[in-house]
């Protein structure tokens, strides 16, 4: 059966659409402009940036410019605060939970390597802001000093940063200067340690190591090969 599309009424009147009604897609120039605007706002506080054309933009600012950068971005149109968190770049001293516990542990790197836009400290705070008018987002990072893990609070810039900073405080042990109330958010009040730090031990795994993949079983109709080799899995 063939269908005559001419018999179907159009969903909207397409004749009224002109070329000027189609907004330009956010592209390279847009994100370069954002970086240029941020550089003119906070100057030397902008340490490094990365623009992936048509994809995303990352910016790293100096620790003392963290709050100023948030303020400048808010004033330049990034009104929507997505989230704020932190990254621990330390490679996990416990490995990654390999599938086969009997295999020798693989070589693990121990030096700290930061991601996009680099860095010089173990911890970085980062936040995601969105400009809902221009449909563009930015990821902004700052180093957290290794000796004293404190950065400025964003609560005076975005009120919604309050709970995000509380969570970052309990999970990573990073303090926020100027935050009104850094109580624990999710953890019990008397919890000790910071669970999202890479060197936080999972006691259950120390007591009972990861057993590996134990639920390997043949599909229905396939011959069972596990026991024919004589050593289980």
């Amino acid at each position: 059966m063939t269908r005559s599309w001419s018999a179907v009424a159009p969903l909207s009147d397409t004749t009224a659409t002109t070329e000027t009604d189609v907004p330009a897609l956010p592209g390279d120039g847009l994100r370069e402009g954002i970086v240029a605007q941020l550089r003119s706002d906070i100057g030397a506080g902008l340490v490094d940036t990365l623009v992936k054309p048509g994809v995303d933009v990352w910016a790293r600012v100096a620790t003392e410019s963290w709050r100023d950068a948030g303020l400048a971005l808010r004033e330049s149109g990034f009104h929507y605060f997505c989230f704020l968190s932190a990254i621990d770049w330390l490679p996990s001293p416990f490995g990654r939970g390999e599938d086969d516990p009997s295999a020798p542990p693989p070589e693990r790197r121990t030096e700290i390597v930061q991601g996009y836009t680099g860095g010089s400290t173990r911890f970085q705070v980062f936040a995601r802001l969105t400009d809902i008018q221009r449909h563009v987002g930015i990821t902004i990072k700052a180093d957290v000093p290794d000796d004293e893990q404190v950065v400025d609070s964003w609560t005076s810039v975005f009120a919604g940063a309050d709970w995000h900073e509380r969570e970052t405080h309990e999970m990573f042990g990073i303090s926020f200067r100027g935050h009104p109330d850094l109580r624990n958010m999710y953890l019990p009040t008397d919890f000790e340690g910071h669970p999202l730090r890479k060197d936080f031990p999972l006691l259950a795994r120390i007591v009972k190591p990861w057993p590996g993949i134990v639920d390997v079983e043949p599909l229905p109709g396939e011959p069972e090969e596990a026991d024919t080799e004589g050593n289980g899995e």
């Binding site: 999710y186 953890l187 019990p188 919890f191 340690g193 669970p195 936080f200 999972l202 006691l203 259950a204 795994r205 990861w210």
Partner: protein, 179 residues
């Protein structure tokens, strides 16, 4: 009921009371995670109509409830609230632990924040394994609990002796040992 207080109940009266108790179980739904959705589907939906078993899943408060279903992931932060809930329930009271998380921690066995089984806080009468359990499994747990209630010695329960027996010998839906 002076007879119950003294722990001396004639057998026919005990049977009658147990029959009444087993078919008017007010279930408090303590949903903590995804199993709460499954519990709602099992208790609330017409397909697995639970009221035909004499179970009323609509108490307004733990103080009205005979049975609580702990369904979902129990965290260390939630644990004191569960203990308080259990203490608020009037005797005789029963607990169904629904799902792997409430039974033993489940997939969060190595988590920093998850309690490895609700039986570390409160005594559990029925374990319903599964991730999540089928509604039929939850209803089977209810039925097995009703059978146990029917054979219960109310006087012993009142004196606090039956309670220990339940902790020693919980029901596992589908069989299997309890460690």
């Amino acid at each position: 009921m002076g007879l119950v207080d003294k722990g001396r109940m004639p057998k026919p009266l005990t049977s009658l009371f147990n029959l009444g108790r087993s078919y008017s179980l007010w279930v408090y739904q303590w949903g903590l995670a995804c199993c709460a959705i499954e519990m709602g589907a099992a208790f609330g939906s017409p397909r697995y109509d639970v009221m035909r078993l004499g179970v009323i899943p609509l108490p307004a408060s733990p103080r009205q409830a005979d049975l609580v279903v702990i369904s979902g992931t129990v965290t260390d932060k939630m644990a004191p609230a569960i203990l308080r809930l259990y203490e608020q329930m009037p005797e005789p009271k029963y607990v169904i632990s629904m799902g792997s998380c409430a039974n033993c921690g489940g997939p969060y066995w190595d988590s920093y924040s998850v309690t490895k089984g609700v039986d570390q806080i409160i005594p559990v009468d029925v374990y319903v394994p599964g991730c999540p359990p089928r509604p039929e499994a939850l209803l089977e747990g209810v039925v097995l609990l009703q059978q146990r209630i029917k054979n219960e010695d109310m006087g012993a329960r009142w004196r606090g002796e039956g309670h220990k027996a339940i902790v020693r010998d919980p029901i596992v839906v589908g069989g299997g040992p309890v460690e």
